[in-house]
């Protein structure tokens, strides 16, 4: 994936500009920067949820999967049902490797609303494994995870990269993974005239 001179806006205000980076297979890129700098906005733009103001993103089609702050779990469905649903959407048959990777087997038949915050997060992250997508764009994936679970997550990322995948992770903590860092703090967008920019009709 190759990104050049990307600028994105949130709520009608430009937040980031001049973002350049390249993400190769097997690479992990950590996004750093203070709160509000636009890490989430950048990830949402890359995932295709919102249009960029300017710049180029060159990426294979259907390569990115997006992991947001929210896990997208249905509280009345069980762990297995939640994961199976996403596996079916992405056309993947087997959820067992994902269950194993995030140590969810003992929780398989529990309803999601009975899980702790960290267990929910693990289930949300297990979804990444059933997407079969090459690039993981993750927004604060380790929130509410304990030390052991962070290690599970780091293992999953390493295995994913060893298999030719790549990851773009916005995080504030040290994951213990060999990774490059993209610091966004110098990329804050200057004041920009967005008059006539009516995003609903773009």
């Amino acid at each position: 994936m190759n990104v050049t001179n990307l600028a994105c806006a949130r709520g009608g205000v430009a937040v980031l500009e001049g973002v350049d980076f390249t993400l190769e297979a097997g690479q992990v890129l950590l996004l750093r920067g203070p709160n509000g700098i636009g890490k989430t906005t950048l990830l949402r733009s890359l995932a295709g949820l919102q249009p960029a103001l300017e710049g180029n993103v060159v990426v294979e089609p259907d390569a990115i999967t997006y992991g947001a702050h929210a896990d997208g779990l249905k509280s009345t469905l069980t762990v297995t049902e939640n994961l199976k649903f996403w596996a079916q959407v992405y056309g993947v048959a087997d959820i067992a490797p994902a269950m194993r990777a995030f140590n969810l087997e003992a929780l398989a038949d529990r309803a999601a609303h009975n899980l702790s915050a960290g267990q929910k997060r693990r289930l949300g992250l297990a979804r990444l494994l059933v997407t079969g997508r090459k690039i993981w764009a993750l927004d604060e994936p380790t929130v509410s995870l304990d030390v052991a679970s962070v290690a599970l997550f780091a293992d999953a990322v390493r295995a994913h990269c060893a298999a030719g995948g790549a990851a773009l992770i916005a995080t504030h903590i040290d994951l213990g993974i060999v990774a490059d860092v993209l610091d966004l703090s110098g990329k804050k967008a200057g004041p920009r005239d967005l008059t006539g920019f009516d995003e609903a009709f773009e």
Binding site: A47, G48, L49, Q50, P51, D62, I64, T65, Y66, A68, H69, A70, D71, G72, L73, K74, S75, T76, L77, E81, F85, W86, Q88, V89, Y90, G91, R127, E199, A200
Partner: protein
Amino acid sequence: MIAILIRDMRLAMRAGGGFGLGLAFFLIVVVLVPFGVGPQSALLSKIAPGILWVGALLACLLSLDRIFALDFEDGSLDLLATAPVPLEGVVAMKALAHWLTTGLPLTIAAPFLGVLLNMPVTGFGWLVVTLAIGTPALSFIGTFGAALTVGLKRGGLLLSLLVLPLYVPTLIFGAEALRRGTEGFDNTTPLLMLAGITAGVVALLPFVAAATIRINLR
């Protein structure tokens, strides 16, 4: 796409899913109207088609705001929008799931409730036919309304106001087809109009609703 349909059906059936809410509301309306009108069975059987249709329409309206709001809150909608299924398909499946959990049970229950309104037996068949043809339109129009208001907190009020005028043609032709059928007249014209509205709405609105969701997710 079938997976989405199955998931939404399963969610509706589980505790707190809202299945039965529309049906219970329909039951309440139909049980209360005879008390309000008083012991005039001739009048009651005359207004029965209209009451049944209005009741079914309002029952459909009750569960609309859940279609996308819950998925929006827990983040599933973002994930569905980036999943390898067309968003139009997601919308169509959600509308279909809404119909299967609301419109279809209403259609099946309606003849039993028609008895409470002293509806002539000749009308029971037409009641099922008109509701079966008309309620899919209610679900699809409602899904479009839900897509319009998906990002709004407490969007239910706005949703009802937006959707009600769009429901009016379906109500007019549905109730008219049922009234004429019950009274033994030819009801081909309103029936065809009703079917035409449903066909058009089912074909077009998923595309409109998907475009609306894309804008709302930005």
